[in-house]
Symmetry: C2
Subunit: 189 residues, 2 copies
């Protein structure tokens, strides 16, 4: 596809809820860095932001990125170096968007279920927007048991949920799978 | 989609090659168990086999499965229990197919690049096969730097590669992403 709109992906570790509904900041995992960076790279995403309010967590990410960019990892597996090229960290989504150069980017949230009362993009309509508009977009994914409803309500739009084909409509994809499938549906050939 | 053909997924840790092309058995990672099990569950796959020649590696998987099926994990996160319901281990692909009850299942391999000389399914033609045929199929994914060419040649067919949309045709998806995208293309709505 020929994407016209600038597009970034952000993985949000706050404001998220835990399994009991409590507001928490989730931990960043190593697989969240690598798997999502590689998927973003395959689909030509401009930037991938790992968003976390704690400096210690972002420093962990920076150490991993450094290992593969200039450390031992860059010699061991050069393909990984290029995968991590566009990965960035940010304390908040707003700071990430400012760093990207598009502080006005439209925030599109993702969710496993349809959110009532919220304007929704289908994969098809968002694909069309990406192909025809100049507006920058940032596609965000929650961790833990999802972003808070307050945060979701502040987003520009919500992308339709991924519905699979299990008999009981099971929808608990890992965030790594969800990102991969969304990017393929929006940008795959 | 209405799938007619029985379908299993197998993650192969042997016979695989390392980055230097040497024949190795790769390690099973915890994320390979969970992420792929969840994707298989969302798309209604009949069985997910983790294939490894070493008993110690399969015992690691069994301990993880046990933790979520009857151990502490089953109380902590019941949704994970149901995700892991159809996950099995096998020392070889043949033993997995026999355990599944379909020793004659057609083996369909996946690869990041087109394999010359090998009959190839497109996503569309394999989707049609799954919707119209009674033949059982097992869709296999390699780890490390891919399955050996000898093993690939023995498969019934090969599924077309996932081509993304990066300017330099970068295709190094994690196996977790590759499984997710393949299942969505074949079985997604």
């Amino acid at each position: 596809m020929n994407r016209k709109a600038p597009l970034a992906v952000a993985l949000m570790h706050y404001p998220t809820r835990d399994r009991l509904g409590k507001l928490v900041a989730t931990n960043i995992t190593n697989f969240d860095i690598h798997d999502i960076a590689r998927a973003c790279r395959v689909y030509g995403i401009d930037r991938y932001y790992l968003v976390h309010p704690l400096k210690e967590q972002l420093m962990f990410v920076e150490r991993v990125l450094d290992h593969w960019a200039v450390g031992e990892g860059s010699k061991f597996n050069p393909m990984r170096k290029t995968a991590l090229r566009d990965v960035k960290t940010a304390e908040t989504l707003e700071k990430g968007m400012a760093d990207w150069g598009y502080p006005e980017a439209r925030i599109i949230a993702t969710h496993a279920r349809v959110l009532p009362g919220k304007e929704s993009y289908t994969f098809k309509s968002f694909k069309t927007a990406l192909e025809t508009e100049d507006n920058p977009y940032v596609l965000i994914f929650g961790t833990g048991f999802g972003l808070t409803p307050e945060f979701m309500e502040g987003c520009y739009g919500v992308l339709e949920p991924i519905k699979g084909s299990s008999k009981d409509d099971y929808r608990h994809l890992s965030v790594r799978s969800a990102v991969s499938i969304c990017l393929d549906r929006l940008l795959g050939s």
